[in-house]
Point group: C2
Amino acid sequence: MSSPSTDRATPGREAEEVARIGLLGRGTVGGAFADLVADSAAEIEAAAGRPLELAGVLRRSEGDFEQILESSEIVVELIGGIDPARDYVLRALRAGRHVVTANKQLVARHGEELFETARENGVQLRFEAAVAGVVPVIRVIQESLAATEITKVFGIVNGTTNFILSEMAGTGASYAEALGRAQELGYAEADPSDDVGGADAAAKMAILARLAFHTDVALGDVSYEGITEIQPDDLAYAKELGLSLKLLGVAELIGEGISVRVFPCFLYRGHPLAPVEGPFNAVMVEAPSITEITMSGPGAGGVETATAVLGDVVSILAGEAPVHRLRRELGRVSEVSSSFYLHLEVADRPGVLARIADVLGRNEISVQSVVQRGLGDDARLVMVIHECAERRFESALAEIGELDFLRSPPRAIRVIEEEFV
Amino acid sequence: MSSPSTDRATPGREAEEVARIGLLGRGTVGGAFADLVADSAAEIEAAAGRPLELAGVLRRSEGDFEQILESSEIVVELIGGIDPARDYVLRALRAGRHVVTANKQLVARHGEELFETARENGVQLRFEAAVAGVVPVIRVIQESLAATEITKVFGIVNGTTNFILSEMAGTGASYAEALGRAQELGYAEADPSDDVGGADAAAKMAILARLAFHTDVALGDVSYEGITEIQPDDLAYAKELGLSLKLLGVAELIGEGISVRVFPCFLYRGHPLAPVEGPFNAVMVEAPSITEITMSGPGAGGVETATAVLGDVVSILAGEAPVHRLRRELGRVSEVSSSFYLHLEVADRPGVLARIADVLGRNEISVQSVVQRGLGDDARLVMVIHECAERRFESALAEIGELDFLRSPPRAIRVIEEEFV
């Protein structure tokens, strides 16, 4: 890691022990970040090689930027918006401080100026949290695929609109009703226009396009549509046709040019982005040499976004790739629980199901669904069993295997039955 | 970046300009890596800050390890297996060379020895390609989530078995038939027992568990089952129940212990891993502070695996986080093609569909599907249009908007109709 090139008098310089972080902004994400720093102290020290400490917090009503800057090695900007965030970030970079920001508008509008300033001052500017929350798309594009000729980056980069579309598709709600629900749950702001109109997704796609294609992409280069015109009808038909509706951002290389757009789009079932529901984000990256990589996860949320910020902070402190080091001893657990699919071929006579149900009941195992099919004198029973201790299930299975009406050994396969959040 | 701490006489030391790579092994992945280094020279230099050159290639029949080691700054091990790969990697680390390997058996069986040797010698050991091919799960766990308390890592980490299960589910083939098909296509080896029996997935899960939980995990700690007992029946019933069958690896923290297992498992439709088909891999990481991250992509393939290796090499050379730099100018493309969903409310009278079809035909637009519904005197037409130039579609839409039998403005939404590979 290169230390910030400041004079000897600043605490950031002498802090070979404690890494001091200046935190700008203490809203939802800033508060979650401060909590994470406190709660994950041991994990952070193990990963970064040094303990972390907040040198100061700047809020609207308190704190002095110059003072925080002087006492920090890394500045974390979580104010949002352009002013005064841009000025603070530029001053921090010029003072030789690494900067981590979650500010998509700032990076989308003033990226070139920020990158240039960071390069000139030999410091890092990281911004994983600015696009798709905790989904590690910035790191994967900038590091894993740094030397790969990416041809397309696309996905769901706005959680508000994905929640609204999921809600409309799932409940038949109108756009207005679904928006209201998103606002109740905190997934949409009081003035949702940046999200539902597509501008937020456009800013994120401008950032992704710039990183993927190594070319300057201005906000004005991104054409966008939102979801305000979507009718419940459209979603009802989509269901019939096996389609799901998403607000997609697409940045692609076409010949010697690029196209960066945001628009609502139907996806066929089986498309990797089709199962992405609720406030989740997902991004796909395509290149001839990788085929495609898909990444998904929560696109927003205080602690999720703060985790992405912390990942950037730790990477700056760790400097080089972490060489794996054991941190603890852990036991081996053999008593685990699972749901099961159970396939039985049995003689087709009265009382068979009752006998099996009795074995399951005595082992405290409950059945989620049963399908029975006649096969001449025999019958086939296929059951899905609710989650239970595997040890109990094995014991029930052994008992069932002994039943005289069984035509072949029972077959059991685990089932993951929890629904996607 | 810290240069390897070798004496001044070694070429690795003086190579501040060209970064010299010693390549061990030149099978499918090794050959693809050598090609990538040649074909992506400009991208690599832009990303790494220095050009890359193969200092030497060690094959079974040619090349001298000592000589390659002397002339290399980074050693890339793509021989596979334990002997002589372990000896070479240890000697390279001890000589102060960074090492990149794709060798899951080596990392799973001798991880602690390798990590310790790398730490002692102040060099990096990277192995993204050892688990899930180009899916960046190692980097995300070790870097993005370095300070995050991960509670569970699970997923599909063997492409051979996922291909076989997809084939059985899709075509009704028996296990033996699907295995034969996998062998024909090069997705399964002549002796497939490591893959189909679960041992390959178990080695990968041991690596993931070690990195996620920071504790020593031996191969013997992983219990595993394979897919050789799966019957076509199971898959047929699964389909009825809306389930898909995957060979899952699961590593989870349970209280103060861990459980690491590999087993075939049904997933409900809507589960993020359910749509992962064919030779793809996918891994989910869970932690309270991130909810979950899902990553998927090709789990094998020469060029895909070589791309993961190259990503590690470039990260070593770039040392710190890349500060974004523009590399080129690209035009803006406005003529793009899309598929569309088209929703029309029309008067229900003869000739309406013909008039619409005529407009589409004249604009060289072909229809994939039509659903027509009566609504009293009116009818609703919902069409899906095959991919066409958006400009042509817009012009057709304008014409349709003028038709006298239209009851409300036409509504169009883009559709992504390509199927998941």
